[in-house]
């Protein structure tokens, strides 16, 4: 089972690379915001996964809750600001 979790973790890390490519390459700034958003979703999954492996899910779930909320605040702030600024 532990081997399977290691496999999932590495697969997720490779997927994060794809989103990272979008963050670096993305033609507009909204692509970068989307990429960061995708990375944070992966990070939430990764945290719960790591918690499962270490058998401390109760602790790690709390952090992932915090991540999800913070991600909302950050993304909303960026989106609001870009909207006011009004250019690409």
């Amino acid at each position: 089972m532990k081997f399977f979790f290691l496999f999932v973790l590495i697969a997720l890390a490779v997927l994060i690379l794809v989103y990272l490519y979008r963050v670096v390459q993305g033609p507009t700034i909204y692509d970068r915001v989307l990429g960061l958003n995708g990375i944070s979703t992966k990070a939430i999954i990764l945290l719960v996964l790591i918690g499962t492996v270490y058998e401390r899910v109760d602790m790690f779930v709390d952090i992932s809750t915090g991540y999800a909320l913070l991600n909302l605040v950050g993304a909303l702030a960026i989106a609001k600001f870009l909207e006011q600024r009004g250019s690409v």
Partner: protein, 163 residues
């Protein structure tokens, strides 16, 4: 001064359950603190919505959510086929959609349902007009046939009778 309404009590109960799950202790001090905190948050957050909170739509919502999840699975499979198709047969369109739903809560639920279903995203909401970006003709099918709207109208018991 402090008027305790049904809405506040229900919100307190919901917040308190989440507190119990997240804290994971049954120590009296912690539980008491959670009760006080959830009541204060419920007190601060009640009385903003234009339509009063009612219990029956909330219960009918529990019936709506599994249906929505079924739609999410279906349209996810459709979107998967689109993305993996070698020719990438997408035809993005903007749909300007005028809803007949009245209350703000219903419109919020409609917008969120549209965004949650893969293939359609709500871009803008002006009163009753929604700007929806759909990936192709079939993704927006639920919307153009007004099926989603009718389900939500059923949840909130509103009239959307077609003229």
């Amino acid at each position: 001064m402090l008027k305790v309404t049904m809405e506040m009590l229900l919100k307190t109960a919901a917040l308190f359950i989440i507190w119990l799950i997240l804290s994971g202790t049954s120590h009296p001090f912690n539980v008491g603190l959670g009760l006080v905190a959830s009541f204060v948050v419920a007190w601060l957050n009640s009385g903003h919505a234009d339509s009063p909170f009612r219990l029956v739509p909330a219960l009918r919502m529990l019936w709506y959510l599994p249906w929505l999840f079924g739609r999410i699975v279906q349209s996810s499979l459709h979107l998967t086929a689109l993305i993996l198709h070698p020719a990438l047969p997408i035809a993005p369109t903007l749909i300007y959609y005028r809803t007949r739903l009245q209350s703000q809560a219903a419109i919020v639920l409609l917008g969120n349902s549209i965004t949650l279903t893969p293939g359609t995203i709500t871009g803008e909401v002006n009163e009753q007009e929604l700007v929806v970006h759909a990936l192709d003709e079939e993704s927006g099918h639920d919307l153009t046939t007004r099926r989603l709207e009718q389900k939500i109208a059923h949840v909130f018991q509103e009239q959307t009778s077609s003229e």
